[in-house]
Symmetry: C2
Subunit: 236 residues, 2 copies
DNA sequence: CTCTCTACGAGAGCAATGTTCTCTATTTCT
DNA sequence: AGAAATAGAGAACATTGCTCTCGTAGAGAG
């Protein structure tokens, strides 16, 4: 079992698995999650449909695999975009990377973050971990910025002032469950950032801005930059 | 043809059409746009599948009809929520109505604003009008608030200062095509509001906030209220 | 090197889907 | 009242996800 990875069979299996995944993504791009057809994938790869079931027990499992893959690829891109010494630059970097990946991979983005498919509940244990990587990474960066005194005090004060008790309590329980010990305003600012910027990106990718803005690049970059410029002050 | 609306056949047609629509929405709620099955609808209504084709030429046309219906119902709700003498209250009202309808009708909301379905391009002429009603209504309200001097000057100045040339130009061309004559900052503020609040609502409806906030009501209402409180100042 | 044994792929088959066609009954119009 | 348009039923076709059976070809033991 351990040495099997060098066997001929195991190698073929890996190759076919990879071929199936790429064909599936190709199909996903062409026809969306709805029209993802196992038979079409099998035709692309050049095998019988029934052979697919040696790799994925069902169509839903294949979708789950694609979702996890999308989350991971997105998170990888975002983390790479956050590789800066300066926290401010890192925060800017992750959000531009966030958007860039989404724009470049609309089908995968829609699959991961779009309309949930009723009847198919994505198995939480599989997807949740991958799906929260970005959130945790952003929060870590924000915590670092806070520790370094880079967060704009005015923004934090204003945020604290308008924090409703319900929100504050929910943020507290969330952070206590995840071991993060941060002032509630910082958590609130983190959530605000996430909601604003993910909302922006998803609207752009789903085409909701097209009637107003055929190419949303200027607007999106402007919003990301100004949002972060207002929150984290330059290194002195 | 004119008097046909009172004929027996025409009445039956209307009734069956209504029955089909409600059954379709029921199915949509249960299985989503993906699993919307004509045969299931026919079974619910109690007719043969082929009879459905006397009412809708294809499954996609049925979907388009449902999308238009969803847009219209959403817009009706939002416009009703904006029925206030005070512009500030009206603006608050439309956004709370916007969210309330979305939360109450997640399937329709997802169909109208969610992941686009490749291969099926929603016929623009049918959906665009219904889809832009809310945007135009919100813009009219904002224009009224501007005319009455209710928009916070600081917010407008700050928005104007961080307006990128690309965005400004796109907003100008859009407004010139729609006959609205407003300062660019006001248009930018309108777009910001839309992006922020629609992004918030769609994240809540699609379940993206659930890991952080099982019930997003406090957070959502807080964001809507504070966002508007910062933008439009109270009547003096 | 040979002999099991297990894994893997092919193919047929099942129920369900969207869509089309034909046929019959019924309403509508002249 | 007779002719014409219309609405629904039912069968049929291609396609889908999925299951089952069957032969073959690699893997491990002697």
């Amino acid at each position: 079992m351990t040495t099997a990875s060098t066997g001929l069979r195991a190698r073929r299996r890996q190759e076919l698995l990879a071929a199936i995944r790429t064909a599936a993504i190709e199909e996903l791009r062409r026809s969306g999650a709805t029209g993802l057809s196992l038979r079409a994938i099998a035709r692309d790869v050049g095998i019988a449909v029934s052979a697919l079931y040696r790799y994925f027990p069902s169509r839903d499992e294949l979708l789950t695999d694609l979702i996890v893959h999308a989350f991971d690829e997105h998170a990888d891109t975002v983390e790479a975009g956050g590789a800066h010494d300066d926290v401010g630059e890192a925060l800017r970097g992750i959000w531009h990377a966030y958007r860039a990946w989404a724009v470049a991979h609309p089908a995968e983005f829609g699959l991961a973050y779009g309309t949930p498919v009723p009847g198919y509940a994505a198995p939480p244990q599989d997807t949740v971990h991958a799906g929260t990587r970005i959130g945790h990474f952003a929060l870590e960066l924000l915590a670092r910025a806070h520790a370094e005194g880079r967060l704009d005090p005015d923004s934090l004060h204003r945020r604290a002032a308008r924090l409703s008790p319900g929100t504050a309590q929910q943020l507290e329980t969330w952070s206590s469950r995840h071991g993060q010990r941060l002032p509630t305003e910082v958590l609130a600012v983190w959530l605000d950032l996430f909601v604003h910027l993910h909302g922006l990106v998803s609207m752009e990718v789903f085409g909701l801005l097209r009637p107003i803005t055929p190419d949303a690049t200027p607007y999106a970059t402007e919003v990301i930059d100004t949002e972060l410029a207002a929150l984290v002050r330059p290194r002195r």
